[in-house]
Structure formats: structure tokens, C-alpha cells
Amino acid sequence: MDQAAIHATGLHKSFGDTHAVRGVDLSVPRGEVFGFLGPNGAGKSTVVKIILGLVQATAGDVTVLGHPAGSLAARRRIGFLPETFRFHEWMHASEFLDFHGRLAGLDRDTRSRRVPEMLELVGLAQRRRDRLATFSKGMLQRIGLAQALLAEPPLVVLDEPTSALDPIGRRDVRDIIRALRAGGTTVFLNSHLLSEIEQVCDQVAIINRGQVVAAGDLRQLLAAREVELRLGDGADAALRAAGLEPLSARPDEGRYTLTAGSDEEIARITANLAGAGVSIYEVQVRSNSLEDLFVRLADSTDQ
């Protein structure tokens, strides 16, 4: 039981000349909401499809709850909402869920219980007899979510589950995700809606150009601060002596930028400098929002 919900090592995927995923390592702990974010074309959906076995990795290893990704055993344990959420439009809403229930191996009784429950959950109980062809985009995404949760899988993989939803729908989905976590389900959430990630995720990984550029506990990532200092003479030597590596430095102006994991660390840095007899003229602390972090990481690997 100690193995991760998803464990990926050295994942690569090329589509012809496009190197979509280049060496991704991931470890998604069980029972948490894991946010996977990155700019368009970063490779998020490709990684998700590898996890589902829809796309074959060029290299690397993925296990899902201890089973090789793409194996029947792995797929039996995943509920998946695809990014495109396009379904067979000639089916009725409840017929569609029933079909997926059968594919998931649910017996008749379970299906007749779960299908109405799921329709209720995503607010489509009224439309259960309507063909999917008559559904709006947001309604299709909702029915897709219902389809993903239908078989009560221990792992739910959602590729941008709210891209077509109105604000109320987004809030509903956040509530559903929280309820899933409360019930012990692991949720892998692909998104670039940062507020959504901030509100529901425990852990995140940020991917850019097919590589993970930051990963870890969301609170810790956000706790990191940038400290801009304007210092007097002797700053260089004092920083070096304290083992502090500036992000950037313009010694002629006395300007240095450092990172600090917490407020306490900032206090320690300034105390250290003052103790070494360096004058501190200016201290500016910039806290990282997820957006800052996202933009900085997306930009930095662009060059």
C-alpha cells in the first residue's frame, strides 16, 4: 500500500520530430489531489494519455497503483475525463453512462444505482433522456465527469475538467474534487487555471516543454520568496561567508536578489548581514503567487 498512485520515471515521447515529453519523473501520492500544470503544448495531455495507455511512451516507465500503465489492471482503477470530452452523440445521457458502466465491468444493479447518482451529481438528472447531440459544451463536459466517476475508481484523471464550465460549474467541480479526496480517492488534475489548482491541490508539478520544472508541496512552493536587497560595502564577501548564493547581483549598485523559503529565513539573512557589519539600505520581499511561479518557470525555460 505504500506505493504511489502514479509513479513515472524517465518518461519520453516523440511524435515524429516533436519531442513532446522529455524525461518526466512523477510521483503522485495516494489520496491527494495532484495538480499538473504548464503552458499550452507543454506535454500535459501527452503524459495523461501515457498514464491511460492511450499513447505509448517512447521510453520510460509508468506504474498506476502498482500496475504497468495501460494494462487492464491499471485501467480498471482509473476514471478518465479526456481533454476533448467528445462522446457518441446519438446516445441518451443515461444510456451513455450505462454503456461506460458496462465497459467498466459494473453489474446491472450497480449501474442502475450509480447512473442516476452520477447524473444527479453533475446536475443533469433532468436531461437523462436527452441525446448527447442536444447537449451544450459545458453539459458534455459534465457528463464526461460523471462518466469518469461512475465506477468509483481509486484514481481519477481529469484533463482540464472545467475548461467549458461556467463559474458555478467550476465551483461544483471543486467541491466534487474535495469530496473525492475526503473519500480517499486520488485525483490527478491537469489544468492551467491557477486559482483552481491553488484551491484544491496538495501537490503540484509544473511542466514546460516536456520537462518538469518544479514539483512538490504547493504550500512550500508558494512559501518561497524573492528578497531584493540594497547593501553597503562588503556585501559580496558577507554573502559568500554566509553561504548565500544570490539569484542575481549587481555589486556596483549594491543590489542583490536572494530566495528564501520563509519569513524566518529572511530575518536570518538580514541578521547575518548586519552581524557582518554590512549596511542594509533596502529590503523588498516579493511573495510568489502561483501565477508568478508559473510565468517565471514558463519563461525561464523558453530561452
Partner: protein, 279 residues
């Protein structure tokens, strides 16, 4: 198990998207027209004092053979249309993703679609040929006992076409696949005529080209087996008939084996190609 779920889904889809209704209307119309044609045709030949009873028999047999050939043609087209976008089309539309992520083998998807469409074609061919044989029997009083081979040959040919079309759709987009399969089908059809000409002219090269097209796609050769039975039934002899309906030199029974191998290979290829494909 999941194979049957996919087959069932495929069948339902054909019904719900009105493919079945459209096919039923078209074929119903064709059979009605055909019935009228046979009725008037038979009225003429049965009152023509110049025709002997055995010649009448041959002409009626020829009418049945032509009708069956038309049904075979429609069944072939239906097989192509049903399967032309079965894999690529669903991947392009995005409807494949949620399904293929479920715990079922890709082979179940391919074989389930094959089976579902085959069931549909079985019903289509069974009903339409039975109605046609009955119409001819009622109007002319001439019952073709050996005509039962025709629906089997048609179904076999339709199964081969289905398999080839599904195999194509694992690699090609809907339109490209349609063009390729239909061209193959047309070449095999024309190849039959070439084979007959080669036989008539006693030219082995022309004859071999005809045979080669049968190996390329054995659908026409399968029809020829049934056509030969129909021709023998009515007692028509070489030289009486010709053209694409008829089968002057029926293929040997080996053709059945070739077609069976062809079918299995096409399905195996479809499964393999789909298993390797990124969705």
C-alpha cells in the same frame, strides 16, 4: 465479454443513426421496382410463342442472377460505408478516448466493431435475398433451390470487405480509406471482366491478370461462386450470358480458402495496427 459490448454498441449506433432505416428504405424501393420488372418481364416471355420452356427458365434465372448481383453490390457498399471511419473516424472525433481508456483490449474494440457490423449485414443480406428469391418464385413459379448459396457468398464477401475496411481505418482517415477500399473493390470487379475476356480470347496473360485481382481482393471471386450456382440452376450455358453479373468460369473451391485467409489476415492486421496506434 467487452467484445460483445462493443458489438452491441456498434449495432445500436447503426440503428440509432438511421443507417438501418436508410438501407431498409433504399432496398425496399429496389425490391419493389425489381418485383415490378420481373412481373412485366415474365408476362412477356411467358406469352412469347418463340421461347421454349427451357429458354424461359434461363431468362428467369438470369433475372434472378442480375437481382442478386445488385444486392451483392449494395451489401458491399454498405459494408464499406459502415466501417470506413470505424477507427480513425472515432479517434479524429475524440469519441475513442474515453472508450479506449476503459479496461478492454484494443482487439475487443476492433473485433467488436467487426462483429456488430457483420450481424447487421447478415440481417440485411438474409432478408433482402429471401425477399428476392420469394418474389421471383411467386411471380414466375420458378423456385431456385440452389440460390441459397448466393447469400452465403455475399455475406462472406461482405465480411472480407468489412475486415479490409476496418484494417484500412486503423491507419487512414475516413476519406482516404474510402477511396482506397472502393478502388480495390472496383479493380477486383473489373478484374473479373478481364478474366472472362482472357478466357474468351484464350489469352493466358489477360486471364492471369484477372486471377491476380481476385487475390488482391477476393470479393468478386466469392460472388462468382454463387453466380455459378445460380447459372447452373437455370441451366444456362457458356455464351448465353456475360458481363459482370455472370460467372462463366467459376473459381475453384480454393478461392474460399484464399478468402478465409485474407479475412483473418486483414483482421489480424487491424488489431495489430490499432494496438500500436497512439490515440
Amino acid at each position: 465479454m467487452s467484445l460483445w459490448i462493443v458489438a452491441d454498441h456498434t449495432l445500436r449506433e447503426a440503428v440509432r443513426r438511421r443507417v438501418v432505416l436508410a438501407a431498409a428504405v433504399v432496398i425496399g424501393g429496389f425490391l419493389a421496382l425489381y418485383g415490378v420488372g420481373v412481373w412485366f418481364g415474365y408476362r412477356d416471355i411467358s406469352t412469347d410463342p418463340d421461347l421454349t420452356a427451357s429458354m424461359q427458365r434461363v431468362i428467369v434465372g438470369f433475372m434472378l442472377q442480375g437481382g442478386m448481383w445488385s444486392l451483392n453490390f449494395v451489401a458491399s457498399l454498405l459494408a464499406i460505408f459502415l466501417a470506413v471511419g470505424s477507427i480513425s473516424g472515432e479517434i479524429d472525433q475524440g469519441t475513442m478516448h474515453a472508450v479506449a481508456a476503459r479496461p478492454l483490449r484494443r482487439s475487443s474494440i476492433v473485433l467488436g466493431k467487426f462483429l456488430g457490423n457483420l450481424l447487421l449485414l447478415t440481417v440485411f443480406i438474409g432478408i433482402s435475398t429471401a425477399v428476392m428469391i420469394a418474389v421471383v418464385a411467386i411471380i414466375t413459379g420458378q423456385f431456385a433451390e440452389r440460390a441459397w448459396t448466393a447469400p452465403f457468398a455475399m455475406l462472406f464477401a461482405a465480411a472480407v470487405l468489412l475486415a479490409v475496411t476496418i484494417a484500412g481505418s486503423t491507419r487512414l482517415g475516413t476519406l482516404a480509406n474510402g477511396v482506397v477500399v472502393f478502388t480495390l473493390y472496383a479493380v477486383a470487379l473489373v478484374g473479373g471482366v478481364i478474366e472472362q475476356i482472357g478466357n474468351f480470347l484464350d489469352n493466358p496473360v489477360t486471364f492471369d491478370i484477372g486471377i491476380a485481382t481476385s487475390v488482391l481482393l477476393p470479393t468478386r471471386a466469392l460472388w462468382d461462386l454463387a453466380g455459378a450456382q445460380l447459372a447452373q440452376q437455370s441451366g444456362s450455358t457458356t455464351g448465353m450470358t456475360g458481363g459482370p453479373f455472370s460467372s462463366l468460369n467459376p473459381p475453384s473451391g480454393w478461392m474460399l480458402l484464399v478468402a478465409a485467409v485474407y479475412l483473418v489476415l486483414a483482421l489480424a492486421y487491424a488489431v495489430r495496427a490499432f494496438q500500436r496506434r497512439d490515440i
